[in-house]
Symmetry: C2
Subunit: 213 residues, 2 copies
């Protein structure tokens, strides 16, 4: 086992709050942070690589993995299953690597209740205003007012779960938020539960103490 145990870093936010940029900044700062590759039962699209873009599974295999506790979280969306396989995450954190999860509040909730709960760090990114979120949706899409209203509702549903996260950052200044994110990850890596080597260190102190006494 590595000197330190990796973290499951959960990043949630409504779409348009700057999460993708912050994720990129975090990876630029430390390229050893891995993305969790989701499993899905939908068909691969042209160019998608199995094990890289997604783990493409049959519905039978997916359901068996869920039953066996091999999915940290999963959801059923538009007739397809999506989930986060536990195996690669467990291997990464045992190897001292952090794994980043870009998931919504429901996935976050499931991971917080999973076998790896003790090693999670959950962060929610809030937009400075709803106006800005709305503007981005209106600008980037040619969608009908109805579709936009639905997306705004979805954003609000996501925001309403901010109170379950360890940290909540208001992204009103990208540089500040990226710096805060980095500080939070740096500190959380030092958390007692992320430092399995402490057990060995205390065992050594105990031997020394017994030798002296």
């Amino acid at each position: 086992m590595s000197q330190r145990r990796g973290l499951l870093i959960i990043l949630s936010s409504p779409s348009g709050a700057g999460k993708s940029t912050l994720t990129r900044r975090l990876r630029d700062w430390d390229p050893t942070i891995r993305f969790s590759v989701s499993a899905t039962t939908r068909d691969p699209r042209p160019g998608e690589v199995d094990g890289q873009d997604y783990h493409f599974l049959t519905e039978e295999k997916f359901k068996r993995d869920v039953a066996d506790g091999e999915m940290l979280e999963h959801a059923h969306v538009f007739g397809n299953f999506y989930g986060s396989p536990k195996g690669p995450v467990q291997a990464a954190i045992d190897n001292g690597q952090d794994v980043l999860f870009d998931i919504d509040w429901q996935g976050a909730e499931q991971i917080r209740n999973s076998a790896l709960a003790a090693h999670t760090l959950s962060i929610f990114i809030l937009p400075p205003s709803i106006k800005e979120l709305h503007r981005r949706l209106v600008t980037r899409d040619q969608d009908s007012a109805e579709v936009i209203a639905k997306r705004m509702q979805k954003s609000w549903d996501e925001i309403s779960h901010w109170g379950s996260y360890d940290y909540v950052l208001i992204n009103d200044d990208l540089d500040n938020t990226a710096q805060d994110l980095k500080t939070i990850v740096q500190a959380t890596r030092l958390r007692r539960l992320q430092q399995p080597a402490l057990v060995e260190h205390v065992r050594n102190l105990q031997s020394e103490f017994e030798d002296i006494s």
Copy 2:
């Protein structure tokens, strides 16, 4: 109420692990961090100032405060009571100021179970080796082998509670440890529960959302 809620920073360690130096470094970095002034029933020594060195209380008043839940933690040592009054700590954290507690594992345990539990950050400092602790005890004191053995036993008792702390740092390099301590405090100040202004921010987002919908 301040923008942020202050932390109760609990620092514990066996004597000789470098805690005093680290405490000084933390205060040099941010002089707004306050020390918790203990209450005691022992008599003031020459030069000690009430409310600065200690809050000097009668035993009757001390016991009443304990009964009223006005002591975050307390202990009975060599016939005198010692404790941490809640009032000044509550006032400081409401004002956005962190309060540092230099207390042993029993005090830490009591604060973790107090009304201010949600705002604590507990850090344990481990020595790199027992040999070094022992050397310091032998060097600094003219004490008998028996007294030194007792102190070593006390150190070991303290160390044996390392597993109840949020963070445990091995102080093998003072600069590194001081830097880690600073990072941990910086990050923990960002914790959701330390940021009461978030509630107001989300309320504003909700109004905006309702206006748009």
